[in-house]
């Protein structure tokens, strides 16, 4: 009880500081500008879907960016300014453990961020509904959230191990690389690996839906083909959806499209529900994609099974997905706040803010840079340190944006509960805890008085 009062006291102080220093007011103004003015300024492609994308991706994305930077920089000042102004002296001579100071401030930032996020989301949501009504959008433009099921495949790790064994048995292992290095490369490649479907061939993919399909629902198959040189090519084929265990119960669509187009095929669930034998879970389906080819010169189709093909069924409402998106973004803000707070416990404000910005930039560009670094370049001594730092950052922060929330909302894909839990677990649990321990150790070591 006593600890709770202490935490509440620290929290209240931080909230008062934020409100009375007018920081919150400036943030609210910036958010209103992002949410209301930005969508009016950016020109869309004239379609309702384009307008929807501007409203969701640009308005919410930019307001999140502003909030993220504001959170990072303001958290960088919280301990640092108290230490540099010596105000911390009066607080640390009271019977309060350092983790309470850290936690109180972090919770205050969490609360402020939560309120601001909800504020922006509310503005964007009502704006969206207003535009939808005013411009007479067709139903379905504002997408409801569909459960997304990827095909059942071995994990990238298992696949890498499998290929490694195969290469080993054939004596095709590359020279000069360790087993771990080969496995890491194979694992990286597995996620991005294209499978080839030659004309006349077919692929069979197994899916397990998030739940059993119901009468009246549609099952949506979404996929995208590519060609060897990413050129546009004609796609002609046949797509069949079968209920697993009952190959006679199927539905088919003729494929007539071009590569790189996102193809969406709708299958009515009614025949499957009606025809399923007792005991069939109505969750397991088989998709057969047959490349019939436009003519003899038809090129092979490429398909990334791990990324470019999913089976979807109705999930939750658009509003529910938007809330999930807010939760994931909120968890990222919580991590940024924890990071800034910890830096502010170690460094002065300018150093903390600079370090935070540099680290954030490295994390953001690291994902794009690392795949471009060849194994040879990575081994050069002048690159080793940089690559190691980027890899460590990528590895530590790989869960931050695992859910890719805004993209999912725009594409009408339900942000999976598992992804939300992962985000919350890492961004609001494990990483902040580690950062808090680091901050408290630094505060304990530091001399907090002037001389």
């Amino acid at each position: 009880m006593s600890y709770l009062r202490q935490i509440w006291g620290v929290m209240l102080l931080s909230l008062r500081a934020a409100i009375r220093a007018k920081m919150v007011i400036f943030l609210i103004l910036a958010q209103v500008l992002c949410a209301l003015v930005l969508p009016r300024v950016i020109k869309g492609d004239g379609t309702a879907a384009g307008e929807l994308e501007i409203l969701l991706t640009y308005a919410l994305g930019l307001s999140f960016g502003i909030q993220a930077l504001a959170t990072l920089w303001s958290s960088c000042s919280l301990f640092a300014s108290e230490i540099s102004s010596f105000r911390i002296q009066l607080a640390v001579v009271k019977p309060v453990h350092f983790p309470i100071f850290w936690l109180g401030r972090w919770l205050a930032l969490l609360l402020l961020n939560g309120v601001l996020l909800l504020f922006v989301y509310t503005i964007v949501y009502f704006q969206l509904r207003w535009v939808e009504q005013n411009q007479g959008w067709e139903p379905g433009i504002v997408p409801s959230a569909l459960h997304v099921s990827p095909p059942i495949l071995p994990t990238a790790k298992a696949e890498a191990r499998q290929i490694y064994s195969m290469m080993q048995s054939k004596g095709e292992l590359p020279e000069g690389l360790s087993e771990a290095e080969v496995l890491a490369t194979l694992e990286e490649q597995a996620a991005e690996r294209y499978d080839i479907i030659n004309p006349g061939n077919e692929v069979v993919l197994n899916f397990q839906l998030a739940r059993a399909v119901r009468k009246g629902e549609n099952i949506t198959l979404r996929f995208r083909f590519d060609t060897e040189y990413s050129t546009r090519a004609h796609v002609k084929g046949l797509c069949r959806l079968e209920l697993q265990g009952q190959p006679t119960l199927f539905a088919e669509h003729q494929l007539e499209s071009v590569t790189q187009n996102e193809i969406r095929l709708e299958f009515a669930a009614d025949p499957f529900v009606a025809g399923a034998t007792a005991g069939n879970s109505l969750r397991d389906f088989v998709v057969i994609l047959k490349h019939t080819g436009a003519d003899d010169k038809a090129s092979a189709l490429l398909l990334r099974f791990r990324q470019d093909v999913v089976l979807m069924i109705p999930g939750k409402t658009f509003e529910s997905n938007l809330l999930r998106c807010a939760l994931v973004q909120g968890s990222v803000l919580a991590l940024l706040a924890a990071f800034g707070l910890t830096l502010s416990a170690v460094f002065s404000f300018p150093v903390a803010a600079f370090a935070a910005t540099v680290v954030l930039a490295l994390i953001m560009i690291g994902g794009g840079v690392l795949p471009l670094v060849s194994k040879e370049d990575e081994k050069k001594w002048e690159n080793r340190m940089g690559v190691a730092v980027l890899r460590a950052m990528q590895s530590t922060t790989r869960h931050i944006s695992e859910a890719k929330p805004l993209r999912s909302v725009v594409r009408g894909e339900l942000i999976a509960q598992r992804n939300i839990l992962i985000s919350v677990f890492w961004n609001m649990g494990v990483l902040p805890l580690a950062l808090a321990i680091l901050a408290c150790a630094a505060l304990r070591r530091r001399e907090l008085a002037n001389v």
Binding site: M1, S2, Y3, R5, Q6, W8, G9, V10, L12, L13, R16, A17, R20, A21, S85, F86, R87, Q89, L90, A91, V92, V93, K94, P95, V96, H97, R444, E447, L448, A449, V451
Partner: protein
Amino acid sequence: MDTEVIIETKALRKTFRDFWHRPTVEAVKGLNLTVKRGEVFGLLGPNGSGKSTTIKMLLGLLHPTSGEIRMFGSAPSATAMKERIGYLPEVSYLHRFLTPRETLMYYASLFGMPKSEAAQRSRELITMVGLTQAANRPVGGFSKGMARRVGLAQALINAPELLILDEPTSGLDPIGCREVKDMVRMLAANGVSVLMTSHLLADVEDICDRVAVLAQGELRAEGRIAELLRQPEAVRYLVAGLSEEQSAALRRSIESQVGRPVQQDYPAMSLEAFFLQVIARDGEEQKFEMAPFLR
């Protein structure tokens, strides 16, 4: 006075170092001190003598280079021990955007005090330090003296057993100084130990039981004020109601007995006492009253 030792330092040493870890200043050199329960102990010394550094080491704000500190028998970093301490720094480092009431509520919350008790204590302390009219104004707009009063109030919010005051009367007007001194004496009478530093020697003389004089980080003198200031080679008699003739006769008589000239003067009141007397005549005297929870 109790014999329980509240503060004890043994061979306490503090050397400040620069960025490259090279020693720059040896601020405290092997200090041995003890402060007992109910005692008002004064740390005296010129600027840079190590007074504030010593206090900050006692509070765990600075880490000693070597030596030992025991506060209530614990190390300065022990959190539980801090419940028994009140601290007023040399400058009242207050949050400018908070009102005195909010400031006191915040510091009360750090002691884990229930809201009702914290509110009650805050009210009483605000009345005690004479800030009732300004209780809901942000501290940022306060004069140095008013901010000092808020600082003093926050140091007392937990009814401490040990009060550490760094220049407590700095920035206060003579009435405020008198009130602080009265308060310190009252608290000491209730068993609270006080460790204070001050540049104003008259203040220290007024309220301290014992003093230690520091210079260049070393302890130069320590003891009870009466003993340190006593001049055994001279004697002073104080006789009230003598006429000029009686006084002259008495002086001649003593001179003839000791065979040396005798100095004669009239006792004068201190300027502070005179000022307070004048203020009292104008009917502006403010009667200092201790907050009920501190009595």
